[in-house]
């Protein structure tokens, strides 16, 4: 077991390195750097000046060396200009070059400086991550129980009316990406023009021109309430619910046709107990993996929903970083995303082994 985890960790580390390198490469393309030079320097720089700026700020040279610096395994760059002033990756002008550390990358805890937020990346990211953490937590709390319940109920008796109703719902919800369900939910629940809000206002249940739910989740940054948080959570959860429910259903229907279920029935076990004791554990092995592997998609949902509902979390930050050419911030976002995805994959692998005695005990 220990060896298995160790091997997985090794592959994971390799994957993380490869992925971060790809991101580093793609964010540090020459045109991106030129754009950066023009935003940091001045818009009217000559091409030569742009090239000089790039060279003098440590963005020239081999991409591997720069990647190494960013990681913190290669000494940071230094540059001494005509005036004899020295700057470098690890220190500002005026600081003593000799006393500054030679390496300052990810491994030393230096995530760089965000050009968009105008403050260190780590500092600007922590708060956003917390905000997204709450969102994810709420999504999980809504999504996992409801999807498993839906899947088990419909897979229990394949072809029944319950099954068909619930399956139709699941298919519809997997067909609705977040940017569609978000729009529909807002149109139904959170505008004064359509949906139920005008009707409620007419009956005097809410104030006129107000809406039942809020179409913006910005206020949830400070204070999460049911009215400002429901729509974003529901929007992300809906897509996942359909997907996981379908997986659970497939797994459940397959288990229900297994011979050991027939054995249990022919032992005289009541249907309810057959489902609860004999089918459920076997049927939940596959969905568990699926839930864990949903994380890359959940991150997508987070990015879309945070943009749609203007909730300033991790996803919103990623969009800002990307559209503002904020290279260190985008790199940091990628690292976070990649680590989250790989960790969930690891958990899913280990969990699969633990849930499945057939693998655990051979």
């Amino acid at each position: 077991m220990g060896l298995f985890v160790l091997r997985r960790l090794g592959v994971m580390l390799l994957t993380a390195l490869a992925l971060t390198f790809v991101v580093f490469y793609l964010t540090n393309l020459q045109p991106n750097l030129e754009k950066l030079a023009r935003t940091e320097g001045s818009v009217r720089m000559t091409d030569q000046a742009v090239q000089d700026w790039i060279a003098q700020n440590g963005h020239s040279g081999s991409v591997f060396a720069r990647y190494g610096q960013w990681l913190g395994i290669v000494p940071g760059w230094t540059y001494t200009d005509e005036k004899g002033q020295t700057r470098g990756r690890c220190f500002e002008i005026g600081q003593d070059a000799a006393s500054a550390p030679s390496h300052c990358g990810l491994l030393q805890g230096n995530w760089g400086f965000s050009t968009f937020f105008k403050k260190p990346v780590a500092e600007s990211l922590v708060g956003k991550l917390a905000a997204t953490g709450w969102l994810m937590l709420a999504v999980m709390l809504v999504m996992v129980p409801s999807s498993l319940l839906l899947g088990v109920l419909s897979g229990m008796r394949e072809g029944s009316a319950t099954d068909r109703t619930l399956s139709t719902f699941s298919i519809a919800s997997t067909a609705t990406p977040e940017y569609v369900s978000g729009v529909i939910l807002v149109a139904l629940l959170a505008t004064a023009a359509t949906g139920i809000s005008p009707i409620l206002a007419e009956y005097g249940l809410i104030e006129p021109k107000k809406t039942l739910f809020l179409a913006s989740a910005t206020s949830a940054m400070d204070d999460i309430t049911f009215w400002n948080f429901s729509l974003p959570v529901l929007t992300i959860a809906l897509y996942g619910i359909g997907y996981i429910a379908r997986m659970t259903r497939a797994s459940m229907t397959e288990v229900m046709t297994q011979q050991y279920i027939r054995t249990a029935r022919l032992k005289g076990v009541p249907f309810r107990t057959v489902v609860m004791r004999h089918a459920l554990r076997n049927a939940l092995i596959a969905p568990f993996t699926v839930i864990m592997l949903q994380f890359p998609w959940l991150l997508n949902g987070v990015v879309i929903v945070e943009s749609l509902f203007n909730y300033k979390g991790f996803g919103w930050t990623l969009v800002q970083a990307a559209s503002n050419n904020d290279i260190p911030l985008l790199l940091a976002c990628s690292v976070v995303a990649v680590v989250v995805v790989l960790l969930t994959q690891l958990i899913s692998d280990i969990g699969y082994v633990f849930l499945n005695p057939r693998i655990r005990l051979t």
């Binding site: 793609l26 020459q30 067909a175 807002v186 749609l308 990623l318 976002c333």
Partner: protein, 469 residues
């Protein structure tokens, strides 16, 4: 001219009918749920002596659900029909007027269905689709949008790019006195363009890319997945590692990295295109060669035609260097296309690899090996045809997924021209004033949802029918 109502004159009768049916449906659904929870939902089994037991309350509720659902459906149907026979849009209402505009689609759909149902016993899996209700509904929805894309020029009421003054963010059914048609059926958008026409044109934008991109992804996935699954070992480990690498990226991050104006300057999309577009040529060449290597004449003919046509298209699509100028692709279109193929391929790879690993243990594969067939013949002619069922199902699902991805790209304004009518960008345009004017975003949102839903239902129907063999 007047503002149109949703249902026109027929709506005066049918609208209340629809309301009653909907309320009955809701009540019946709640009742059914309660009965199920209260365990009053016994199944109705005939006794061994042939008599039937009395209906349980749950059973009655199911009946009520069915009838009220059909009633609601009938009301909507008659509303559309009534609208379609009304002489002017005023009498027809918005729904009726839209139903009229879609006439080529209705015609094409009926022809397709009549012909298909008539000859379904001779049409293999496609014909069997018409045995499954779910599959038929899905197929109808998908074909609706396909025909809409084909006949879009006839269906639209206005040029999707034209802006009429005074119609900015106006609600559905608003009169447009300056235009020959006279109304904006689904209202005007942020820039006073016709939402209905843009939605119709959007179908064309989406269906231009999604199926083709999925096809390419399948070519890549199959060409890599078969050997990985068949040979296993180091080759498998290496390709699987690469595939997992791509799959571990959140798609949006990948899009933000891959679909940018900057990256187009570096030429990376062209490199990717050169890499990805070669797969169909390799696939077909190997396919013919492995099959006809015993008959060199025939082999040379097939492979030659493939290479000439393939490389011609390849030079145009990937490098924009078609000497005849027939094959070409806009740089930003190429960028989007390549990225979508790139994101989809690892998923296909995984499925194909799994199927290959399963099928390679069959005796007919061993029979092929013992008569000395080449590995590629076994992969392409013994394994692949027998994996077609799951692959066709996945193909439908994946077109839906690709549609969602394209929408995502549009939603973030990546790689599309600013006034493109594709559904993703229209949703993006509409969302800025979503809580004031929801209609410009709602129309493309519902369109996109119905297309993906149709594809999913189609896949479900196909899966069901292919399992029956």
């Amino acid at each position: 001219m007047d503002t149109l109502t949703w249902t026109g004159t027929a709506g005066r009768v049918l609208l209340p009918a629809l309301q009653v049916a909907s309320i009955a449906l809701a009540v019946a659904l709640v009742a059914k749920l309660l009965f199920v929870l209260a365990r009053l939902d016994g199944p109705r089994l005939p006794g061994p002596d042939g008599t039937t037991t009395a209906r349980s309350p749950g059973d009655l509720a199911s009946l009520a659900i069915r009838y009220s659902f059909f009633a609601a459906l009938a009301a909507i149907f008659f509303m559309l029909v009534a609208g379609a026979v009304m002489p002017s849009p005023v009498g027809a209402g918005i729904l009726g007027a839209m139903a009229i505009r879609f006439w080529p689609v209705w015609l094409a759909l009926s022809v397709t269905f009549v012909v298909s149902v008539r000859f379904r016993r001779k049409l293999g899996l496609y014909g069997k689709l018409f045995d499954s209700t779910v599959g038929m509904i899905g197929f109808a929805i998908v074909m609706f949008w396909v025909f809409t894309a084909i006949f879009a020029d006839v269906i639209i009421t206005h040029d999707p790019f034209i802006q009429l003054s005074g119609l900015k963010n106006k609600p559905p059914g608003i009169a447009a006195p300056d235009s020959p048609y006279g109304w904006y059926l689904l209202g005007g958008d942020l820039l006073a363009r016709d939402v209905f026409s843009r939605m119709v044109m959007g179908a064309r934008e989406v269906l231009k890319i999604a199926p083709a991109a999925t096809m390419f992804a399948f070519m890549v996935g199959i060409t890599l997945g078969l050997p990985a699954g068949y040979f296993g070992g180091r080759l498998d480990a290496f390709i699987s590692f690469l595939a997992n690498l791509v799959l571990a990226f959140p798609v949006i991050l990948l899009f933000y990295l891959l679909v940018t104006p900057e990256i187009r300057v570096t030429g990376i999309p062209v490199v990717l295109a050169a890499l990805l577009f070669i797969f169909p040529i390799v696939f077909l060449t190997v396919l013919w060669n492995s099959r006809f290597h015993t008959d060199p004449m025939k082999r040379n003919r097939y492979v030659g035609v493939t290479l000439v046509l393939g490389l011609w298209a390849y030079s145009g699509l990937a490098f924009n260097m078609d000497p005849l100028g027939i094959w070409s692709m806009q740089p930003n279109m190429l960028n989007v296309f390549v990225s979508v193929v790139f994101v989809n391929s690892p998923g296909v790879f995984r499925i194909v690899r799994g199927l290959a690993m399963d099928i390679k243990t069959r005796d007919y594969v061993a029979a092929g090996q013992t008569r000395g067939e080449s590995p590629w013949y076994i992969m392409l002619w013994e394994i692949l045809p027998n994996a077609r069922g799951p692959l066709i199902v996945d193909f439908c699902l994946r077109i839906g997924y690709t549609t969602i991805l394209l929408g995502t790209l549009g939603f973030f304004g990546l790689g599309v021209s600013p006034d493109s009518p594709d559904w993703g960008s229209t949703i993006d345009d509409g969302r800025k004033l979503l809580n004031l004017f929801p209609h410009p975003a709602l129309a493309p949102a519902l369109a996109l949802m119905s297309l993906v839903l149709g594809l999913n239902l189609l896949a479900d129907g196909l899966r069901e029918e292919s399992l029956k063999d």
